[in-house]
Amino acid sequence: MTRKLPLLTEDNSPFWQGGAQGRLLIHHCADCTRFFHPPAPICPHCGSFEVTPRAVSGKGKVLSYTINHQAWRPDLTEPYVVAIVELAEQAGLRFVTNIVGLPAEAVHIDMPVRVRFEQHEDVWLPLFEKDA
């Protein structure tokens, strides 16, 4: 499956490249001790610049999902699952991803998942699979 890849910046590269070391890096604020996403130079909760990428467990649950059936590109012939995963570390901490490694029909809301990186060039996409 080919992918449109993000342009890497100082702000977003920890998220997109943490997978090189098997780590899911999410921005964390030292002042209010909360995570936030998408990554940025400032904490949107408290306005602090004391923010750094921090490794999370990579575990979470499916908040919502959809099975895409439309071939937006000629190579997208098989249905695939787009989901929003909420990370275990903090309520509301979430991002869009794909659920892989099981039949699309088996995915459901609240399903426990864990991260699994997929490398494309210099980007490690954080995808998720079912967590036993």
Partner: protein, 397 residues
């Protein structure tokens, strides 16, 4: 939210216009724009010389891109206008941003008569490039967008995937069913049957809906609006200059434009979206209540968005939109709250925003012909999805 100055009360709609609506129309985007704008100016009883402001959302979005091929810059000289103020641009409270910006220009004393327009030529474009509106086409090469980079790497290549995530979550939280959701598409089609300008007018049954192609579960092709070529124009006039024309002025009673969440498709409340902030703001600016609304023109770029707007505007309780639309009786033309009376964008055509304002005024003026609903004085228009949202409450006294 507390507001002590309601600027929009100084502004009224005095004329509306629209080009041919087709799939496609053999006219340039500029010609469609001129057709709509001259139609609206004449409808208001004005001439080109009276127009002293121009507003548009999103304006010339990307050098003639079919999503919005004509902006204020191109129109002003082409139509020989002399304006005191003009403005366009994507970043604003959704497809009604032109109305809201134009009203602000009038209320702040810059203009007397503002021409608001919106042109779209996606039907023509898609004859050439089926994936013309894919999210990946917004940037060349690597995705440098502050927003789309969080979605396109995961093959979210159409907004429908994001809308499907909202829908699935609504189903999960509130027990909304596909049969209930289908009522938006069925209602729009029934209304379109009586609109000679609508794109799809053949009858649609629940079986037809469930036989239609699944695009992104649970959304089907019939949950998506239909691309068209069209332009729509609205004339906003200062209240003290609104009584000279042939039409009774339609007052802007209240607008909603708030965003109290991130501008993001996945970091906002998935089942309330920006629409919640917009609805709260609008009702904080008027003594009218949701029960006073006689008709509602609610964005249906995707069917779920109409459901979200019903709740966000307090037209039904939060989470209850499924049960509210069930069976379609309440939202039919002769129901307690007629919606999308020209067929919406699902069957009428994706005029993208101003089409709803055009239809609301057409109904309030009693000019809707065969599809005319019962006389009423208050109509609400809301447009946008996800982080995009704006609304306007219209009153014909």
């Amino acid at each position: 939210m507390m507001f002590d100055r309601i600027f929009e009360k100084d502004v009224a709609i005095t004329g509306v216009g629209q080009s041919e609506v087709g799939r496609p129309v053999a006219r340039s985007g500029m010609r469609l724009t001129l057709d709509a704008c001259l139609d609206a100016i004449a409808d208001a009883g004005l001439t080109r010389a009276d127009i002293d402001g121009v507003a548009c959302w999103p304006g010339d979005n990307n050098n003639g891109d079919a999503f919005s091929p004509v902006g204020p810059n191109a129109l002003i000289g082409t139509l020989g206008l002399k304006v005191n103020w003009y403005g366009g641009g994507y970043e604003g409270p959704g497809p009604l941003a032109g109305i809201i910006n134009g009203a602000m220009a009038i209320a702040s004393g810059l203009c007397r008569h503002v021409l608001v327009f919106r042109t779209i030529t996606e039907a023509s474009r898609r004859k050439v490039d089926k994936n013309a509106s894919a999210l990946t086409n917004k940037t060349i090469g690597r995705d440098s967008s502050f927003f789309w980079q969080w979605y396109t790497p995961f093959n979210v290549l159409s907004a429908i995937n994001l809308m499907a995530l909202y829908t699935q979550r609504h189903f999960h939280e509130y027990g909304t069913t596909p049969e209930q959701l289908a009522q938006i598409a069925l209602t729009c089609r029934a209304n379109a049957a009586l609109n000679p300008k609508a794109i799809y007018r053949t009858p649609l049954s629940l079986d037809d809906y469930f036989a239609s192609r699944m695009i992104s579960t649970p959304l089907r092709v019939l949950d998506c609006d239909v691309h068209c070529d069209a332009s729509t124009a609205i004339i906003l006039s200062r209240a003290d200059a609104a009584n000279d024309g042939p039409n009774p002025p339609i007052r802007l009673e209240a607008i909603g434009a708030a965003l109290h969440q991130p501008w993001s498709w996945d970091q906002i409340d998935l089942t309330a979206t920006a629409a919640r902030d917009v609805g709260e703001m609008m009702w904080a600016r008027t003594d009218l209540k949701p029960k006073d609304v006689g008709s509602a023109q609610l964005y249906d770029g995707f069917s779920i968005l109409t459901m979200i707007w019903l709740e966000a505007l307090g037209l039904c309780p939060r989470g209850e939109s499924g049960r509210f639309v069930e069976g379609g009786r309440r939202i039919a033309r002769d129901g307690e709250l007629p919606i999308n009376t020209n067929g919406g964008q699902l069957s009428g055509g994706r005029t993208h925003g101003l089409g709803y304002v055009h239809e609301a005024c057409t109904q309030l003026w009693g000019r809707a012909g065969e599809r005319q609903i019962a006389p009423h004085h208050v109509s609400v228009v809301a447009a946008g999805g996800g982080p995009l949202g704006g609304s306007v409450l219209l009153v014909r006294d």
